[in-house]
């Protein structure tokens, strides 16, 4: 969203970030409402990660006012490259189908975050165990910082963290991430709102568009196979990263770097 606003509509980055955060809060609430009902969202894991993530996003939204636009653009572009790479690697690994009803990690100790959901692609219940919650919380803090500063959902970090570090299946990770980022997006959006960076009419238009798109997306997500989603996600992230980097460097050339 931020790249689109900055690159296509030429909106200054702080306003773009602000509107983007509002749109993210909207999409998160709308999509989460569907996912929660389907049992896809792990609300317990979500709320624990949210604690650190919201802290990160509020702190960084407060700091954002002091950062020059170009620095923010550059940070945005650079942070997307490793994420794209990580998702690509995960998608390439041979997908071992979990049999319906069996937990993926039988050696991990049962924890309070363990959950299961009905996966139409597997035509059965998929149970999973959650691990590394503490490290996940720490990373969530940084994801929150990214969100507050750059107007990202934070999902771009959260989903890989949950699937790679915590053992959550891709769809549940996407749903839980979506659930969480609504809070941190709303928290940092509030900070921007009070600073006057939110343009209400632009926000209205973007929100409506995003809601429409996300309702289409949620139906596709529930039925698709996890690895396909990861590959697509990885490619999109890479494209966005490249474009934003070009924009940040372009701005630099004008100043005579």
């Amino acid at each position: 969203m931020v790249p689109f606003l900055v690159l296509a509509l030429k909106i200054p980055i702080h306003q773009a970030v602000a509107v983007s955060l509002v749109a993210i809060a909207a999409a998160s609430s709308a999509v989460a409402s569907v996912n929660v009902e389907r049992g896809l969202t792990n609300m317990r894991l979500g709320i624990v990660f949210e604690t650190t993530m919201a802290l990160g996003s509020v702190l960084s939204a407060l700091a954002a006012g002091f950062m020059p636009a170009r620095a923010v653009q550059l940070m945005f572009a650079l942070s997307l490259f490793p994420v794209s790479f990580m998702m690509f690697m995960k998608g390439r690994r041979a997908f071992v189908a979990a049999k319906p009803g069996m937990p993926e990690e039988s050696c991990a100790a049962a924890g309070r975050f363990d959950a299961s959901f009905f996966d139409p692609a597997l035509k059965g219940e998929r149970a999973y165990r959650v691990r590394n919650v503490l490290s996940g919380s720490v990373v969530s803090f940084f994801s929150g910082c990214l969100s507050g500063l750059l107007g990202l959902g934070g999902g771009i970090v959260q989903v890989p963290v949950m699937t790679l570090m915590c053992g959550v299946p891709m769809k549940a990770a996407a749903a839980t991430s979506n659930f969480m980022i609504g809070v941190s997006a709303a928290a940092s959006a509030f900070v921007y709102f009070k600073k006057g960076y939110v343009l209400p009419e632009l926000a209205a238009v973007i929100v409506i568009g995003v809601l429409f798109g996300s309702f289409l997306g949620i139906h596709a997500l529930y039925r698709a196979r996890s690895e396909k989603i990861q590959m697509v996600f990885s490619v999109i992230t890479l494209l966005v990263a490249v474009k934003m980097l070009m924009k940040a460097m372009e701005a630099g050339r004008l100043v005579g770097w």
Partner: protein, 91 residues
Amino acid sequence: MFSEKHFARLVQRTLLAGVVLCLLLFFFGFVLRVLESPVAAGFFTAGVLALLLTPAARVLMLIYGFCRMRELFMALSAFAVLALLLVAFIL
């Protein structure tokens, strides 16, 4: 009996209510815009506010739900999140 399913449904309804409210406000904003009324801007701002308050309402529901299910650690986490949201609101 307050089950997981009830919990999920409660959260779902809260989220949907917030989004619908926001959309209604935006809709009225656009209508007023077309009618060239100066009040239109207020409706858009109200819609944005409704949207930003929805996650807070959702966290409140989570606190309530976790308390009823006697999962106090979760309720405490949810409370911490609410406190953070309040801080963002006040600062």
